[in-house]
Every structure is written in C-alpha cells, then in structure tokens.
C-alpha cells in the first residue's frame, strides 16, 4: 500500500479498524526498532576505549597521535574530583582508563578496581621521568598500577603588587596573615588544603601525622578560618578573584599561575620556604576494561605521554609532563619559558624541591576534623 493511499483511506474513512490497527502496529514496531539500529551504528564508530578524567585533560591536543592513528578521539567521561569518580565506578560505571593522582591509587587498588599496566606495551615508558615511576603506593613488586603523565605543584599564588612584602620571602604564612583577612583562600580539600596547614606547622611527615601534630594542624586551621574568603573548589574561583583583587593570596596549581600570568597580572608562584607540594597524576587501567580495546588503550597512553602532548600541557596549562623530552623541546622552542613557569630546565631539581603528595594516614579522621573546623568547632 502506498503512502498516499493510506492518507486517502484515512481521510475518506474507508480504512476499517483492523487495517488501521495493523498500520498502527507496524508504526509502533518501526519506532521501537529505530533506536536499536542507530545504537548499532554508534557502536560501529565507537569501539574506542572510555577514559574517565578531569575537565580540560580530554582536549584533542593532548592525544593527537591517537587521532592520527584511529581517526578520532576515544570516549571521555569527566569527573570533578576523584571521590566522585570512585563513587561512580563502585556503583557500576564501566570505564577503561582513569586519570587519578598518586595518593588515590592505593585505595583504588584495595577496592579491587585496578589492574597492573603492562609497561612492555608502552613505547614511551623509557622517556618517563624515572623518579615518577616508583612513587610509593603506585607500584607493588613488579606490578605497575600507575602510568605517571602529569605533575605540578600546589604552592602559594599571590599578587605581588598587593602584598609586596612577601616578594623574595615566600612562605605559606601569607595564608595566615591577619593583614589580609577576608582576602585569602585555600583549597577545600584534604590533600591541597589540610596538608598545607600540616606543612605550615612543620609536621615531620605531613601525610602520616602524629596525634599531637593533627591537633596542631587543627589549631592552625581554626586560626585561619576567619581569614578565609572561602575555600575554593575550582581553579576558576581563585583565578577570577585574584584577578579582581578580591583575593590577595591562595593555594593554587600551576594552571592558575599560567592563566593569570597570561593576563599580564603581577602574580608570583614560587616555592614557599616550608616547601611546595608536588602532585603527580596519571593513568590507571581498570580491572573491568574491555580486553578487545587493549591495543587502543595502550595507543592512547602513548599518545598522551608523547612529546607533543607534553609541550601542549606545559605551554598551555603550565603543568609538568611525565615525558622528560617535552621539557627539552619547550626549552629549545621557547627559551626561558620553563623558568617563567616555575620549572628548572633540569626537571629533577624542580621535583626534588617539592614535597611529594602521598596517601594520607587516617584520612576519614582528618576529613572529619576539617569539617569540624569549617563548621566553626
């Protein structure tokens, strides 16, 4: 029956009920099948691995070799922080690769969601900065659970024009300076916030504090609370506020420094005398990854760790990269830029100057303590 016939029959009332029902059923069946068809089409072009990562780390510039080889980017899912990612994955969200930071690797491994990475399948493994490969908690015997690709600092970022007395005398203490009451901010996080206080009070090992040190940290956080404008959760919070002069100083990552520097602001981001923190992030292979996609998974890891991705991460975000050759490349292309971004040309020098972030002992108790301080107790 032609289409026009159906319409005409309907209009003239010639179609009987059974015929009408037949047509309706056919239409219904067609409607039900349509999504299945397109789903298959999606699957055909989408047999790429799924990468669960931070916002901004999924940009095509950070995995160009993968696109060159496979024609398009893999699938991405974005998380706001690792706790959110962890909760989602434990609730059954299936991904192939995740990009957490080192201090989360042990707990993820204990939860049984990680699988060792076969480093023999990585062509870039030899170019990775050696000291990043052996961070405690990421390796267990000969099992490598973590592929380090990104690193950077957690340090104090301040407006040199608003707080000139700290130039050349950098210290975490600026975040405790009553002179700048209401114009300071610290990360709303254990690792980038509470650990800063632990370093400030001079804890021997900030990541495994004694009870007395925890109490000292609590006291210093309480002292700091009334000086805080807010605890920041996203780098955008402090970047805008520092640019407008609402904030004078904040704990920050390299990307905020690079962004503000680009705007031509007189900001400083160097090592405080108590020591800056070094964080390292990278990839973990999930135990429920799709084995059929393993080749592409390793291709993606190599693409992310390539020199060209490293150059982009350094020049655009100001973040350190796992591939040591990327630093030499940047120094060759744009001499002086590394120093301006706060890195030594000799990468190990920068890495050794900072305190490596490590898994925190008794994390729940520290979190509870931080919540209590924020609640004014």
């Amino acid at each position: 029956m032609k289409k026009e016939d159906v319409v005409e029959q309907l209009a003239t009332g010639k179609m009987n009920r059974r015929q009408f029902n037949q047509h309706l059923m056919a239409l219904g069946a067609t409607m039900a099948i349509v999504p299945m068809g397109s789903r298959q089409v999606f699957a055909a072009s989408g047999d790429h691995p799924t990468v669960f990562t931070w916002e901004g780390w999924e940009v095509p510039e950070l995995h160009q070799p993968y696109i060159a080889k496979h024609g398009e980017s893999p699938n991405f899912a974005i998380f706001g922080d690792e706790e959110e990612a962890f909760a989602k994955m434990r609730a059954g969200f299936k991904v192939d690769l995740t990009q957490p930071c080192t201090y989360k690797v042990p707990i993820w491994r204990d939860a049984g969601i990680l699988q060792p990475i076969d480093i023999s399948r990585l062509s870039t493994w030899g170019d990775i900065i050696p000291s990043l490969k052996t961070i405690p908690g990421t390796v267990e015997g000969d099992k490598q659970y973590f592929f380090p690709t990104d690193w950077g600092l957690t340090s104090v970022l301040y407006r040199a024009d608003l707080a000139p007395e700290y130039v050349g005398n950098e210290t975490w203490g600026i975040l405790w300076d009553p002179k700048y009451k209401g114009r300071l901010s610290m990360a709303d996080s254990l690792i980038d916030g509470v650990m800063v206080a632990a370093i400030y009070i001079g804890a021997k090992d900030p990541f495994n504090m004694t009870d007395a040190e925890v109490e000292k940290t609590r006291a210093s956080l309480k002292e700091q609370l009334p000086l805080m404008r807010y605890y920041w959760t996203s780098p955008a919070d402090i970047e805008q506020a520092l640019a407008s002069g609402e904030l004078v100083a904040a704990s920050a990552w390299n990307s905020s420094y690079a962004a503000l520097k680009k705007e031509g602001l007189d900001v400083r981001y160097t090592s405080p005398k108590e020591g800056a923190m070094t964080w390292v992030c990278g990839f973990c292979l999930m135990s429920d990854h799709d084995p059929a996609k393993l080749d592409k998974i390793y291709d993606y890891l190599d693409a992310y760790a390539s020199v060209e991705s490293g150059v982009y991460a350094l020049t655009e975000y100001g973040y350190g990269h796992g591939n040591v050759k990327a630093f030499a490349q940047v120094e060759k292309d744009q001499p002086g830029l590394l120093n301006e971004l706060g890195y030594s040309v000799n990468v190990d020098e920068t890495l050794n100057a900072g305190i490596f972030q490590a898994p925190m002992g008794n994390e729940p108790a520290l979190q509870a303590m931080f919540e209590e301080v924020k609640a004014g107790l």
Binding site: D81, E83, E84, A87, I107, D110, A111, G182, S189, L190, L225, M228, R229, Y230, Y231, T233, A241, S244, G245, E246, E363, P364, Q367, A368, E371, E372, K374, A375, G376, L377
Partner: protein, 314 residues
C-alpha cells in the same frame, strides 16, 4: 474468526476448567471490590513510588545502622552512627543552622510572594495566565545558573558593588554581600519564589469576593477585612507555600557550596561529604535520617501552630 473463537472456548472448557474458575473468581473480585479496582488503577504510580521512594528510604534506613570500615560495610546492627550524631556537636549544630537558614528563607519567600500573588489574584482582570507565565519566566533557566547569577550580583566586583561604587557611596567593595549565610538566604529566597507564588495565588483566587464586600458593608476597613477575611482564607496556600519552600531548602547543598563560604555550609554539604570525601556512607545515612526526622518534627510543630492560629483569628 468466529469459528476459531468458538473452538478455542470449547477447548478451554474441556481441558482447563480449574484455571477458568480462578479467572472467573478474579473477574468477580475485580467487579465487586472497589478497593482492588482502585489499586489496579493506581498501580503504575504505586509501583514507581515503591521502587523510587520507599525502597531507597528503606536502604538508607538500613545503611544507617551499619558501620563503615575503610572500603567495606560491617553489616551488623549498630547504633554507633546515631551515637556519633548526638555525641559530636558538629552535626546538631549544622542541622540547627540549616533549619534556621531555611526558616529565614521560607519567611522571606512567603512575605515576598504574598503581595505578588495578591496583585495577580485581585488587581489583574484580564490575561491572568500571561501574568502567571511571566512570573515563571526567570525559572525557565537552570537552578544552577540562577545561583551563579546571584554570585555575579553580590560579588566583589558584582552588580551591586560596582553600582554603589560608581554612584560614589562606597570606595571599597562591600565584602559582606557574598560568602555568608545571608547570601544563601537571598539566593534561595529568589530561587524558590515561584513555588510560593503559585499556591498562594490559587488560594487567593478561590476566595469568594462577596465575603470581602460583606466585610466592608459591615463596617470593617480595608486592612481589617484583609486580616479577618482574606488572610485566614488564604492560609492553606500560605501553608502549602511554606512547606514547599522549607522542606527542600533544608537539604540544599549546591547553593551553600557556591555562595555560602566557610560560614554558610548546611547539613546537605555534610551529608554530601560523608558520601564522597569522608567515605562514610552509614554515617551519612544516619545524618540524613536524623535530618528527615527533624524536618518532620518541625513541620508538625508548624502545622499545629498555624492550626491554632487559624482557630484564634477565625
């Protein structure tokens, strides 16, 4: 067709007599029992409610009696989480603060919504629907976007500060506008306004206008006829509006985390942290249960209060 049906019936009659009896009994039950018909009519909604509301509540309740140890739950009955809730001052304090903030939000929302609803119900004669739709226009944008809009309004270089600065009233931006409980109250009061205007409008619209005329005829002035006739008759709308605003705002966590600053955090933020950063789901569940119970108690108190208030003025 007819033939087929008849033979079909014959076959069932012969071979499956018991099942027909059951079917018959069921059909008779369906015809005679009004309750059964009602439940069947309700069943899609009822199933959704059971799966989407009752089951999760049960899970939450069960979870609150377990204990978290590192990554696992210890699944034996324990009151430890409830003990922690009462033992540590932080939870009660934050819950009390949340209720105070939500109470202020409810008060502000209802006070601001009432005149608007009154205006549309009594002063607008034509195109009332257009006015109602106009009121909801700001609420077509996402909730998050409206919170961010307030951040821009109240911010350090925000609309209010730069406005006052350009008028010469202030030289330094006012820092107290944002990142405190007041900012949370302002933002929430705006974000939930539509939920207060509509129920109040409906109850005002329903008021028999001749009652107002009678009040004036009998010598009451405009104010007193409002207090003695309009207000009591619109109380159902006011109560509905208060509940619609109060209940969801107690647990809100997006607004406090965006505009609250360190002093503006609410119980929702604590619960969120328990399920995320602090990784203590059972304690989070216990705090949720306690906060639900407290809100229920507050509402009972509120309803009892308004009930006695209505009796007194009526």
């Amino acid at each position: 067709m007819d033939q087929l049906t008849r033979s079909d019936m014959n076959s069932t009659d012969r071979t499956a007599a018991p099942s027909t009896n059951v079917g018959f009994a069921l059909r008779r039950l369906f015809r005679t029992s009004e309750a059964l018909r009602g439940y069947i009519l309700l069943s899609p909604t009822l199933l959704t409610m059971i799966i989407g509301l009752a089951m999760p509540l049960l899970v939450l309740f069960t979870l609150s009696f377990w204990i978290q140890e590192y990554l696992d739950f210890i699944r034996t009955f324990s009151l430890k989480n409830y003990f922690d809730f009462f033992h540590k001052p932080i939870y009660g304090k934050i819950l009390f603060k949340s209720i105070r903030i939500s109470g202020l939000v409810t008060l502000a929302t209802v006070l601001l919504a009432y005149p608007m609803a009154y205006f549309i119900a009594f002063r607008i004669q034509r195109n009332k629907l257009v006015w109602l739709i106009l009121i909801t226009v700001p609420f077509w944008t996402s909730y998050l976007l409206r919170v961010f809009a307030w951040k821009i309004m109240l911010g350090y270089n925000g609309v209010i500060n730069s406005g006052l600065k350009s008028l010469g009233f202030i030289t330094e931006p006012l820092a107290f506008l944002l990142y405190n409980p007041t900012a949370v109250v302002i933002t929430l009061a705006h974000a939930w306004a539509a939920f207060a205007i509509l129920p109040i409008y409906v109850s005002l619209e329903k008021i028999d206008r001749s009652l107002l005329e009678a009040a004036r005829d009998l010598g009451e002035n405009a104010f007193m006829s409002f207090v003695r006739v309009t207000l009591p008759l619109s109380m159902p709308g006011v109560i509905a509006a208060s509940l619609l605003v109060f209940i969801p705002t107690v647990g809100d966590y997006v607004t406090p985390s965006l505009v609250g600053g360190p002093s503006g955090i609410m119980i929702g933020n604590i619960i969120q942290s328990m399920f995320g950063k602090a990784l203590n789901w059972p304690l989070g569940a216990a705090i949720s249960v306690m906060s639900m119970l407290t809100v229920t108690a507050m509402i009972c108190l509120f309803l009892w209060g308004t009930h006695s208030f209505r009796r007194r003025i009526a």
